[in-house]
């Protein structure tokens, strides 16, 4: 009976194989279809560029070295980090807290693909936007300060400037991925946001205030300061060298991604 019915009404397959490309497209659809993505990303852009145009020229007194000026135009990215971190955290915690994760993993039962898909889609968006933002911040900040008389022109090619401008963007993007991996591990929005706020903003400040300067050496190993070394190095004598610092931030992020992968792969969804 059943077989006869099946032959009289053939079921035409609509679903193809599960592919990395498919998961990337799926994750892109998820990213673009909730408002929080665009709120947080536009906050990041506006903060970075806004600080560059309206705050940094005034904060740069006298005849600053080109790298000091470049660093000042990127100072808003410290604030933008928060937006990228929050967005990164929400990508997984939002799925766990709404229960969407079960629907997602039921169509992507090879679970690591979901992680790679999110990393790929969010990573590409975050990297593109961060680089565009950091370059825009520098260019617009420089143009804004050209209006002031007597200031030397600073441009790409001046010592360290390219590294600082590109570096600020790179650090911003990697920070977002740091948040993504942390969210995948913690699975709870409130807890995830508390942890990133503590690690990136509260602890560095607290240690700086509470500890004598001689005991502050380890602060350079905090993720925020390790990343900051790539573009904010000039101002902090205890800082790591730029690329070592950035490598350490990437190392932290990679370690978190590894833990997230392990936790996602094993155990219940």
């Amino acid at each position: 009976m059943a077989a006869a019915a099946a032959t009289t009404r053939p079921r035409i397959p609509v679903a193809g194989n599960l592919t990395v490309r498919g998961v990337l497209r799926s994750e892109w659809t998820k990213l673009r279809s909730v408002r929080s993505t665009w709120w947080l990303l536009s906050t990041a852009v506006i903060l970075t560029v806004g600080v560059a145009v309206f705050v940094s020229p005034g904060a740069t007194s006298g005849k600053p070295a080109p790298y000091t000026f470049a660093r000042n135009t990127e100072y808003g990215s410290v604030l933008s980090q928060l937006a990228l971190l929050v967005l990164g955290v929400l990508l997984f915690t939002g799925e766990y807290q709404s229960g969407l994760i079960r629907a997602s993993l039921s169509v992507v039962p090879r679970r690591l693909l979901l992680l790679w898909g999110k990393l790929g889609a969010f990573g590409a968006l975050a990297l593109t936007l961060s680089l565009v933002t950091s370059v825009a911040a520098f260019v617009l900040g420089e143009l804004a300060q050209r209006a002031r008389p007597g200031r030397p022109h600073v441009w790409f090619g001046d010592p360290q400037v390219t590294r600082i401008v590109i570096g600020a963007g790179l650090v911003l993007a990697v920070t977002g991925i740091f948040g993504l991996a942390l969210g995948a591990i913690i699975r709870n929005t409130a807890a995830g946001l508390s942890i990133i706020t503590a690690v990136f903003f509260v602890l560095p400040l607290l240690f700086r205030i509470a500890l004598p300067a001689s005991d502050q050496g380890f602060l350079r190993f905090l993720p925020s300061n390790a990343g900051g070394a790539l573009w904010d190095a000039a101002l902090s004598p205890t800082s790591m060298t730029p690329w070592t610092g950035f490598a350490l931030l990437c190392g932290y992020t990679a370690a978190l991604v590894a833990v997230a992968a392990w936790r996602l792969r094993h155990g219940d969804a």
């Binding site: 609509v14 679903a15 194989n17 599960l18 079960r102 629907a103 219940d268």
Partner: protein, 305 residues
Amino acid sequence: MIEVENLSKRYGDKVAVDGLTFTVQPGVVTGFLGPNGAGKSTTLRMIAGLDVPTSGRVRVNGRDYRSSRAPMAELGLLLEAKSVHPGRPARDHLLALGQTAGIGKARVNEVIEMVGLAGVARKRVGGFSLGMGQRVGIAAALLGRPRTVVMDEPVNGLDPEGVRWIRALLRALAGEGCTVFYSSHLMSEMAQTAQNLIVIGRGRLIADSTVERFIAATTAASVVVRSPETGRLRGLLDRPGAAIASEGPGLLRIDGITPEEIGTIALQAGVPVFDLRVERASLEDAFMRATQDSVEYGATGLENL
């Protein structure tokens, strides 16, 4: 086809599923019954590879679902708990799920139409009623036109029209050769929809049978007789092994004697009989009887109401 083999799931000290073995056949609708906390949802999550079994194994269409090459073509899943992001429009939710398997907007729109969400597909799911949310979940389960459909409480929150629609849908899927496995608390609804039954209690298998055989095996059928001379008939039928009760004036309920025997005895004694019918217990009666020892969270009574 779903094959569950010696499946167990333990959360700490608590055993949720305890050595389950059963097979769900294609081409028929199979119901999944059990009291609250019996382990139904846990079992369904393990079938879909969401929960990892402590021991035992599950195969969907002959293989481990987690290693499936085209998962959406194999299994469509509706889970009891809401599994949508409240801030995402229904259409984007379904599109995102479908894109993992190369399913595009045309099929998404088709399924949206089919479940009756065309008018609200661009709205955020957060504002949906329970029934509308349920339809989003059903749409997701059907999106990939899967060979096996697993649904946890699909009629939850649906209006009577929606309940009828689900019934027709599940039967149509089975008619096309799909494996259909679903749980429900609505016994009368399940009695009308399912042909086969898996019943569990406290994580263990209680019955693996057809609906009819389950009712027959669990409860006795009784015979109701209407007659103007119930007193005489009662005397004639009174014998060891028979239980006779009055069901009101002119009505007797008899357990333990076949209707054939009752009719013959009445005829030979010249007792007029106006009505003689066999009353089968409902699926609900059978279910209560079968699971009375394995109710995990039972209410104790109404004394303190």
